[in-house]
Amino acid sequence: MISESKLKILTESAKYDVSCSSSGSKRKNGGGIGNGYAAGCCHSFTPDGRCISLLKILMSNDCVFNCKYCMSRADADVPRVSATPEEICELTIDFYKRNYIEGLFLSSAVHKSPDYTMEQLLLTVKKLRTEYGFYGYIHLKGIPHAHESLVREAAKYADRMSYNIELPSEKSLKLLAPQKSRESLLLPMEQLRREKVAFQEEKHKGHFLPAGQTTQMIVGASPEKDGQIIRLTQSLYRTFGLKRVYYSSYVPVVRDPLLPDMPTGELREHRLYQADWLLRFYGFDAEELLEEDGDLSLEFDPKCAWALRNLHLFPVEVNKAPVEVLLRVPGIGARSAYKIAEARKYASLTFETLAKMRVVLKRARHFITAGGKFYGSENSAAVRGMLSSGVRTPVQMSMFADGQNALLSDFETARSALTGEL
């Protein structure tokens, strides 16, 4: 059994990774222990409001790299420990069978060398699957600069892998994480993308990252603007087919002249998640949302801000506008848009029927007509005022918690509930 002190050190250092999602895998129980729960499942919530879904732990915090923002960096004077593959497997199984967790999120500092570390991670997940008969969720962090054969092998056992992009620009990466290069992060992402496509085309038996790849970047440790971040996000989705990009607002755990002393505002992080949502589900391009050297508005959510810049496109008629256009109306979320599209097949919609269908009109009414009628304000200054007064809640509903909600079975719906329907 792993010792208490080791467990503490190895979780303390892993906890700033924001992803804790266990969704996307339908792995069936093959006679051992565990299975996948495609919608994801939260097992507990910590006082910081985050969900615990996975056992998030490092294999080792003994690092040869020297990322400035990290408390495990080589220069830091901290106790160093490493767990054995057996300790991790046993911990996972014993937590899992008590229903504490949905699976394992295994990561590591670069211990000895990238290849050595990746070998240890691979050994652990392979053992967990084959010797311990574990069918639950495994998210494995990839180690930059590790040999590609190790990466390929690991993908056979993990449900999800992630290479963290860490910082939004190559320049900041050089400055703050000097041993990690853009290439060392992007090449394995590309490799996994390619191999997954090949795997699917050849209809192999077994699994190859059923829950895909994700990444994470720290926001606010370096000077990049939201415009750059959102453009980078867009290209990560488009080029590598990532499932998710996570943003982690910078929390200072280390003092360094190159790093800010203050944590990043959580509203900024929230706005980035909202913009990310617009890219993935609402058909927006980064270029429409903001300039490359601009930041997202803190006052308005990104869809609202876009609509206010494009008032000439509104109001749109709910009985006629295509779904893609409805999705762009502030206050109308995906569910409402499809409800409207369904309902208008049978009858012409009025504001009363919309209200009955529980479409929230508080913001939307300024941007739509129903049967030619308009109930919003024509005065754009008044509209701005009304809209901005209604957006204070996101501060408490920050998205730094992984967007799972025990109340909602569908992971992405939960996400939308948390981001606030746009």
Binding site: M1, I2, E4, L7, K8, T11, E12, A14, K15, Y16, N29, G31, G32, I33, G34, N35, Y37, C41, C42, H43, S44, F45, T46, P47, D48, G49, R50, C51, I52, L55, K56, L91, D94, F95, K97, R98, N99, Y100, E102, Y135, G136, V251, P263, E266, K356, R358, Q396, M397, F400, A401, N405, A406, L407, S409
Partner: protein, 240 residues
């Protein structure tokens, strides 16, 4: 008229027939406020009447008995009336009404059923098993709704090699999986002998829970929203 019944399906269906044309009916399986002069009747389950009602409702809506079973699991104080109104409306309308959410009685029933479903999903995460000396797993729970047997398929699918007991301590019953079969049994108090490692694993779990928290971000309200305090009783990470 006030109709008392025992909360079972057949007694509900019997009462449903009796109260069908009573516009003033109050149906309850708990307590009701009696005012002077109010008339009461205690409805016993009547097998043949219940089958008659069941047949009629099923002919209108194939999903009606599933709805009823969910509604009767609800711990909401008004669930008997919600169910009665819903089935009366269903019978009067003569076709499935599930989607007619603009009707108050349909909406109330839908919300009531949704709460039951939500709690099942929540407990997929919140159940905490303890390992007993013989290797079986034991989890006490105290849910709002009567759901312990609904939790079994989920855990059986992922832990096929582990016999387990999910014990609803409030309703004094337990859903049991003996490694082969599942069944429901009355259970008042369980005498549990924990395995040698159990307390250590619980302690490690508490360490983990404390370790992953980021203290500079305090959002207790959010935590309690997702994981209401009434569920904490059987979670090692929230005890002591």
């Amino acid at each position: 008229m006030i109709y008392f019944y025992d909360g079972s399906k057949d007694a509900f269906l019997t009462a449903f027939l009796l109260a069908y044309n009573d516009g003033d009916a109050t149906l309850t399986s708990g307590s009701a406020q009696l005012s002077i002069g109010s008339q009461t009747v205690f409805v016993q389950a009547d097998f043949s009447r219940a089958r008659r009602a069941e047949k009629r409702l099923l002919a209108i809506d194939k999903g009606s008995m599933r709805d009823l079973s969910v509604l009767l699991r609800s711990g909401d104080g008004d669930r008997d009336m919600v169910a009665l109104d819903y089935f009366k409306f269903l019978a009067k309308t003569g076709r499935p009404v599930r989607e007619m959410l603009a009707e108050d009685c349909v909406l109330a029933a839908a919300e009531c059923m949704r709460r039951v479903g939500n709690e099942v999903h929540r407990f997929h995460g919140f159940v905490r098993f303890m390992e007993t000396g013989c290797g079986a797993l034991y989890a006490p729970i105290s849910p709002d709704n009567d759901i312990c047997d609904l939790l079994v398929p989920h855990f059986r699918a992922r832990l096929p090699g582990f016999p387990f007991v999910i014990h609803d301590v409030k309703r004094k019953k337990a859903a049991v999986y003996d490694g082969e079969h599942t069944f429901l049994a009355p259970l008042d108090r369980a005498e549990i002998v924990l395995s040698a490692g159990e307390e250590k694993w619980q302690a490690l779990w508490r360490d983990y829970y404390d370790g992953v928290n980021i203290p500079s971000r305090k959002r207790l309200k959010q935590m309690r929203g997702y994981m209401p305090v009434r569920y904490w009783k059987f979670m090692p990470e929230k005890k002591g």
